[in-house]
Symmetry: C2
Subunit: 291 residues, 2 copies
């Protein structure tokens, strides 16, 4: 290992290696064009922040990773192996910076019946302006009814899959509308989630997030936010919010593992109040958390 | 080039190469783990049959490839380059066999702003049993209304993207139900398409396929089927079929570029008539076509 802190770090799961994984040069090709990650988006992933070498909310991310894999009938290598590999990658990243690790499990090379797994770590992009100034958000139809997870599990809503083309298309549509990000609503008008974030709203001393029975991801950052809220004397809960609920909220945020909490300052052009002090405290809490 | 016919052939687009592409060893990794094909399913593809070195319905596939790329705001290298690369890959495949070429364009390595493109050819899998004996099909909800393409283009219905996790999950759900394949219906009851195929139904002397305004792919094989039907004196058309229309049809097929035409012999366990003579003639037509 070089004494120089690397810009990015790649580790690949390898059942033949005594550790179960090995480091590789992130600048060189590592995947077959026949890998179902690349040809079918057929796999799952997690992304989390790494603060001073400590992965944040690691157990929540690993638990969701395993649930996502189960939704896709994907065999997951033991979580203990992923945990060790995450810590090894985290150990190679710069200790002083805020870094990000992505872990990916795909169904592997077509016909080979052996999953492919990798971990990639790097310095996190700078989201400080979004956290302080807030973001403009467009509301977009996700096309699904709010109850589609229970009626049609093959739609994989609730699994964090590699099939993110719709999520990235929604972000491009938001930019086309002059916004920075998007919030999806169900075809029957329930607020769901952002393409890469969980929605949080505040109404007086109550923090709310969309109910987990909805076709959304179980937000790992949202758990940390609710802990913070409770410590500040706020109550928390889950609901089926509407766009009107967002418009009349005392604050709306998009939560994610690396941008942490971005206050929404407008929704389809209509202003939303931004509480700078509360947001700063929330971001500081998320930034410093270890577990 | 070896005089031995290779089992599979890989070519990678390369703007620095005088040809615009170069051959590579398909057994070696060619993709970065940072390629958005692998991390976001953010790209488009086409798959087509190659008969005696001649790619089938190539122009229809290239046109759809370009439309899919446009839906994703992806810059497409010139179709002429793809055409030349396809013919070069086809020329290296075994001339006597039925082969398949997949062409893929991804948004490329995150942040690099340069798309990745590749072509992979190999001998086609043997689908003769599905073509002659027929397939059992399960009907599955696609979750979207029939008009979602016009209301919500960011859902990318109609684009052949690499984000196929739902398609493969639907096929696994079909197998779980004891079927071989699936037909998607819209949340409001309109028959759409299979996860990797176009639906065709026959009513007397009339062949029908779901209307292109629906959230489905513009089937390239379906065009060839309609030409065949016209040559046999059948009329053809587009409609908004229901499951009842399939159940009362004189025949239902799933059309695709490599399996060609697979007659549906049962739908959710209810038998559907299979016309062996018509199917054999249709498959022979599709198998032998050049253009």
């Amino acid at each position: 290992m070089s004494s120089r802190t690397p810009a990015d770090v790649l580790a690949i799961l390898d059942p033949r290696h005594p550790q179960g994984f090995d480091f590789a040069d992130p600048g060189r090709p590592a995947l077959s064009v026949l890998d179902l990650a690349a040809t079918r988006g057929d796999g799952v992933f997690e992304t989390f922040g790494v603060r001073s070498g400590h992965p944040q909310a690691l157990e929540a991310h690993l638990a969701r990773f395993e649930r996502s894999a189960a939704s896709l009938d994907l065999r997951t290598p033991p979580l203990d192996l992923w945990r060790r590999a995450v810590l090894a990658v985290g150990g190679r990243l710069a200790a002083d910076d805020f870094a990000v690790i992505k872990i990916v499990l795909s169904r592997g090379i077509e016909g080979a019946d052996e999953p492919t797994g990798w971990l990639h770590g790097r310095i996190a992009p700078d989201h400080s302006i979004a956290r302080t100034d807030g973001i403009d958000v467009a509301v977009l139809d996700r096309g699904y009814r709010h109850d589609v997870s229970s009626t049609s599990p093959w739609l994989l809503q609730g699994a964090k899959t590699l099939s993110y083309a719709v999520n990235t298309a929604a972000l491009r549509e938001a930019v086309r509308r002059g916004a920075d990000d998007a919030i999806f609503i169900s075809s029957d008008g329930v607020v769901l989630e952002g393409p890469t974030s969980t929605v949080l709203l505040r109404r007086g001393d109550h923090l709310l997030t969309p109910d987990l029975g909805l076709p959304i991801l179980d937000g790992t950052t949202q758990g940390s936010v609710f802990e913070f809220a409770t410590s500040r004397g706020l109550t928390t809960g889950f609901s089926h919010p509407t766009v009107a609920d967002l418009e009349h909220a005392d604050g709306v945020w998009l939560l994610s593992s690396v941008r942490l909490a971005a206050p929404v300052r407008s929704l389809d052009g209509r202003p939303i109040p931004v509480d700078r002090e509360f947001t700063d405290a929330l971001v500081a809490h998320l930034f410093e958390r270890r577990g």
